[in-house]
């Protein structure tokens, strides 16, 4: 689901709550004459335009909800404090998957389960389909959306490393128009991104990977189901028929404040014969390029070691394919 995107969004929301408690500002007064009194609490528009209108009027004051699998947890103990919801689930325009000659366009409300089960996405975007199939559990996958995973912007978000590896672009819409942002530029910190309060994420656009692409997804967690990743890896190589790596994209999650691509590793792999890749060297490059923290899901040392190990193992598998 989608939530207020900035790290300080919840603070803003709380600040607003404080203000309203003090009687300084009521939503209707702040937001102008267009808001009908008494209908401001649960907004469930069927059209995107209406949703964008609400978004520009309410900004952070309305909690945006899609699948609810993050937001209902975040608000578990403070649901009564929510002053307004903006529910996106009735907007069918955000639920499409479109495959054109050049691109794959996924609506922000498409669920993880829909991605995991979609035969075309499994074929064209195996990293994303695999990551979606490993989010939480079936119950979470059937509700949680790709847009929510992106907007929540957790460094451990399962779909984020694949989206970086596929060079996805995100379409951010507002009443003023649309802008497209590269996945890499979208995330700026833990649970922080560049979205503005009046914007909604509407589409994810992914260029078709070249046919000679090989890839490997890896999720490391303490158990298989219902686990927030200790780290994730999406490795994608474009290899020509002589086994030369034409391009490499190595994206990792939960090893830095944002999901990130490891440029040093990509540079090392590019233009190299796949069979001549020195696995240890590649593993060391990966280990050095990340900046993990220690938390309940693993220590910094553990994350560095495992990053090295899975990088080596994935490249070894690719060499032996």
């Amino acid at each position: 689901m989608m939530k207020n995107s900035r790290q300080n969004a919840s603070n803003r929301q709380e600040n607003f709550g404080e203000n309203s408690k003090k009687g300084q500002k009521e939503p209707e007064q702040v937001l102008g004459q267009n808001v009908p009194i008494g209908s401001a609490d649960y907004l469930a528009p069927e059209s995107l335009n209406k949703a964008l209108e609400y978004r520009s009027r309410y900004g952070y004051k309305a909690v945006v909800i899609a699948g609810g699998t993050d937001i209902m947890v975040d608000y578990f103990e403070k649901l009564p404090e929510v002053t307004s919801w903006l529910d996106l689930t009735k907007i069918s325009a955000l639920k499409n998957i479109e495959i054109t000659r050049e691109e794959i366009i996924i609506g922000s409300l498409v669920t993880h389960l829909e991605i995991a089960r979609n035969e075309e996405l499994k074929k064209y975007l195996p990293l994303l389909a695999a990551a979606s199939s490993e989010v939480g559990s079936w119950q979470i996958q059937s509700r949680g959306t790709i847009g929510g995973n992106i907007v929540t912007s957790s460094p451990a978000g399962d779909t984020l490393a694949p989206l970086l590896a596929y060079q996805a672009r995100f379409v951010l819409a507002s009443t003023e128009g649309e802008r497209e942002v590269a996945a890499e530029e979208f995330f700026v910190g833990p649970k922080d991104n560049i979205m503005e309060p009046q914007e909604l994420l509407t589409k994810i656009i992914i260029p078709h990977p070249p046919e000679n692409t090989i890839s490997r997804w890896w999720k490391v967690g303490k158990r298989k189901a219902m686990i927030i990743s200790s780290l994730t890896m999406a490795l994608l190589l474009e290899v020509n028929k002589n086994d030369r790596i034409q391009s490499a994209r190595a994206a990792y999650g939960a090893v830095a404040p944002t999901p990130l691509r490891l440029e040093s590793l990509e540079e090392y792999l590019t233009d190299k014969d796949l069979q001549e890749v020195e696995l240890k060297k590649a593993g060391n490059l990966a280990e050095e390029a990340i900046s993990p923290i220690s938390d309940i899901r693993g220590t910094e040392e553990y994350r560095r070691q495992v990053t090295r190990d899975i990088t080596i193992e994935a490249l070894r598998e690719m060499q032996q394919r």
Binding site: A44, M72, L79, V82, W85, Q139, R143
Partner: protein
């Protein structure tokens, strides 16, 4: 918050309720419809005790605002049996002693039902995946997986 009128189908009956916008489907089912088969375990989508079927898919009812089920179909554990006749899954759970304290059972049954409604002959691995989001702390999973497997075979024969 204002109250929202929600019309939905609950275990094949058309229902209409007026709820606060922040009310969870779990609470609506238990408190307004007395359908207390749906349990609250963790309240944050980890344990699966509150699993119900929403438009054919298993969901955690603790993470669904009731307002979002407007116009949709909800099925709870109470909707499995037809009169006195148990759902094959329920009978199979009894036959395989897949119930000990019983708290996780409604959630297990609903996740398994969602699976069998889509896949009439699941492999053991597929059953385990479908039950990934359901925790049991006393029965043990073996009997549960066996029960689902047997129910699937029985349903396929019929």
């Amino acid at each position: 918050m204002s109250e929202i009128k929600v019309e939905f189908t609950l275990n094949d009956n058309k229902e209409s309720v007026v709820v606060p916008a922040e009310e969870r489907l779990l609470d609506t089912l238990r408190e307004r419809f007395d359908l207390t088969g749906t349990k609250e375990g963790c309240g944050v989508g980890e344990c699966g005790a509150c699993t119900v079927i929403l438009d054919g898919e298993a969901v955690n009812s603790c993470l669904v605002p009731t307002a979002q089920v407007d116009g949709r179909q909800v099925r709870t554990v109470e909707g499995l049996a037809e009169g006195d006749e148990l759902d094959p899954l329920q009978q199979s759970f009894i036959d395989h002693q897949a119930v000990q304290c019983g708290f996780c059972t409604p959630g297990m049954l609903m996740s398994a039902r969602a699976l069998l409604d889509k896949n009439t002959s699941p492999t053991e691995e597929e059953i385990k995946t479908a039950l990934d989001g359901n925790l049991c702390r006393c029965t043990g999973y073996k009997q549960i997986v066996d029960a689902v497997e047997a129910a699937a075979k029985k349903e396929e024969r019929e």
